[in-house]
């Protein structure tokens, strides 16, 4: 592999989480609002949590903050709300990373579930009580459930991707 190609590979590897996050947010393609009544999941949460846990330097906090602002403008929620949720998720990821000695997918996913339950509760309460938005609690619950279940699948896919660049042993 020549130097130019290597540089492209490295850049792609470095900014992959950001590209993924921004692509899905700007395209309004994060499966939060789908055509199916009860099937939806928050892809941004999965990306942010996974990468703040596994490769925290790849997602700068300021970029996450801006991604949240973009998301708010696009979906029409009060500006700053998604940023807050994303940053809390980031903080939870960073906290888990700090306290973890032997990472395991089950523990990560359970902590992820706890975090998304908290942040969705904050979202639900703030939208309902401060901004007079009407949210369907059942749909929100289904969204949380699917986000949790699909975290396993996407973390495996991201593991494969990371393994492709840095080798399988170094991913975990």
């Amino acid at each position: 592999m020549n130097l130019a190609n290597k540089r492209i590979y490295l850049l792609l590897y470095k900014y992959f989480p950001l590209i993924l996050l921004y692509t899905f947010i700007i395209n309004d393609f994060d499966f939060t609002y789908t055509d199916y009544e009860y099937f939806s999941f928050n892809f941004s949460y999965i990306v942010i949590f996974y990468y703040s846990l596994k490769r925290s330097q790849s997602l700068g906090y300021i970029f996450i903050f801006l991604a949240g602002l973009f998301n708010d403008v696009i979906i029409g929620t009060p500006v700053g709300l998604s940023s807050l949720m994303y940053l809390i998720l980031c903080g939870a990821g960073a906290y888990l990373r700090n306290i973890t000695l032997r990472p395991s997918l089950i523990k990560d996913s359970l902590f992820f579930l706890l975090t998304i339950l908290i942040i969705n509760s904050i979202l639900f309460l703030s939208l309902n009580f401060f901004f007079n938005y009407e949210l369907n609690s059942l749909k929100e619950m289904m969204n949380i459930a699917f986000t949790f279940v699909l975290y396993f699948l996407f973390s495996k896919i991201f593991d494969l991707f990371e393994g492709f660049f840095v080798g399988t042993d170094n991913v975990r």
Partner: protein, 414 residues
């Protein structure tokens, strides 16, 4: 306990306050900013609106680039989907074309067969002349059921032409003037129309009774009664005046079986006629061969006119049709040859059976003859036998010789 609390605080502090190597803001400060933005947006600050506008601008401009890969995938997916749809549609069309082709061939075969059969029975009628006329006068005498119409010889109306109301037969032209004609309705007592009663195709004559009913006459005695009850009456075409199969009415079911006559309820109310159709029929001179030749000629002239490619397609199609006909004929041939072999083997078996029966019959005859001979031998044997002393002077035969047998059979008279 103290240690774990310290660990928790250290981890939290590290997560929320510590800046990374390339981080300019800590997580907590950004959370703080978010909350400030939230408060500003809830208070409808103009700064937030400007921010929203700016972000929208960025999103609209960048979405073109960002959505590039998505659009590329989407377009390709649509192209692939279209190809699959086209493939499926093509498959479906091919099947349909095959079906239509086979249907067309069957139809053509039936058509040719129909022409041939019509030729055999010499009964191929087509509408020759069709005139629509208005009813001028409707005579309601009990002895005369007729109508006058506003069309006559100047409109090519001729005696005996069939008159229809819609598709139903109502009478025939009996008088033609220059501009008017008179139609004798089927309810008139003088009207005699050859009819066929379906479904049994019973031939009869229908005459009117002066009222709104028809009477079935000259019908086979065996068919009178319930058998023709509730049947449909059509013109039979016998006599060659009218085309066969024009509906007239329905036979009224008899309440009392002892009543001999059958009545017909006409489909049309003959007292309510306003416009009628006058038709004449002629035999169409359709001949299978000539028709085919004409078609061939037509095709050949067309092919001359068309371009070479079209000619080839036409010829190919003709060939395909003839090939399929040939295949069908081959199939039929195979079925027939199978039937023939079966019949031949049956014939062989039957011949064998006949032979066996013949042998049995022969044996029976011989047996019968022997029995008769033995019976006669008992009675007349002494008259023919040489051994008998009484017969020395007479001409007698040795026992068992054919002459002896003949003598016995003729009761000793030889």
């Amino acid at each position: 306990m103290e240690t774990s609390r310290d660990d928790f605080v250290i981890a939290l502090r590290s997560a929320f306050l510590k800046k990374g190597t390339q981080q300019r803001f800590s997580l907590l400060s950004l959370i703080f900013f978010s909350i400030i933005f939230l408060i500003f947006s809830s208070l409808n600050f103009k700064v937030v609106d400007y921010l929203k506008i700016a972000i929208n601008e960025i999103v609209y401009r960048s979405s073109f680039i960002v959505s590039g890969p998505e659009n590329f995938i989407k377009n390709n997916y649509i192209i692939v989907q279209n190809h699959f749809d086209l493939y499926n549609a093509n498959k479906k069309n091919e099947l349909e074309i095959k079906k239509f082709k086979s249907d067309d061939i069957s139809r053509k075969i039936i058509e040719f067969e129909n022409i041939r059969l019509k030729e055999i029975i010499n009964d191929y009628f087509v509408n020759d002349n069709e005139v629509v006329a208005k009813v001028l006068i409707d005579k309601k005498s009990p002895f005369l059921r007729s109508i006058a119409i506003n069309k006559g010889s100047k409109d090519s109306i001729k005696l005996g032409m069939a008159v229809l109301d819609g598709i139903y037969f109502i009478g025939k032209v009996v008088e033609v003037n220059y501009s008017t004609s008179r139609v004798l309705l089927i309810s008139d007592i003088n009207s005699k129309i050859p009819v066929a009663i379906e479904p049994n195709n019973t031939q009869a004559i229908m005459s009117g009774n002066g009222l709104e009913k028809g009477i079935i006459e000259y019908i086979n005695k065996d068919l009178k009664g319930n058998e023709i009850g509730d049947s449909i009456v059509f013109t039979s075409g016998v006599g060659g005046l009218f085309k066969s199969g024009i509906p007239i009415g329905r036979i009224i079911k008899k309440k009392d079986p002892s009543i001999n006559q059958s009545f017909v309820n006409f489909y049309k109310d003959l007292s309510q006629l306003k416009y009628v159709k006058i038709l004449s029929f002629k035999k169409e001179n359709l001949k299978f061969e000539t028709n085919k030749k004409k078609e061939n000629n037509k095709v050949s002239t067309e092919t001359l006119k068309n371009s070479t490619d079209e000619n080839i397609t036409l010829i190919k199609r003709q060939k395909e049709i003839s090939d399929e006909i040939r295949l069908k004929l081959i199939e039929q041939n195979i079925i027939l040859s199978e039937k023939l072999t079966k019949l031949q083997s049956e014939k062989k078996q039957l011949k064998k059976l006949i032979k066996e029966k013949d042998i049995i019959i022969q044996q029976e005859a011989e047996h019968h003859k022997n029995k008769e001979f033995l019976e006669l031998n008992l009675l007349y044997g002494h008259k023919c036998s040489k051994n008998n002393v009484k017969n020395i002077l007479k001409k007698k035969y040795k026992i068992g010789s054919p002459e002896y047998k003949a003598c016995v059979m003729s009761k000793g008279k030889n």
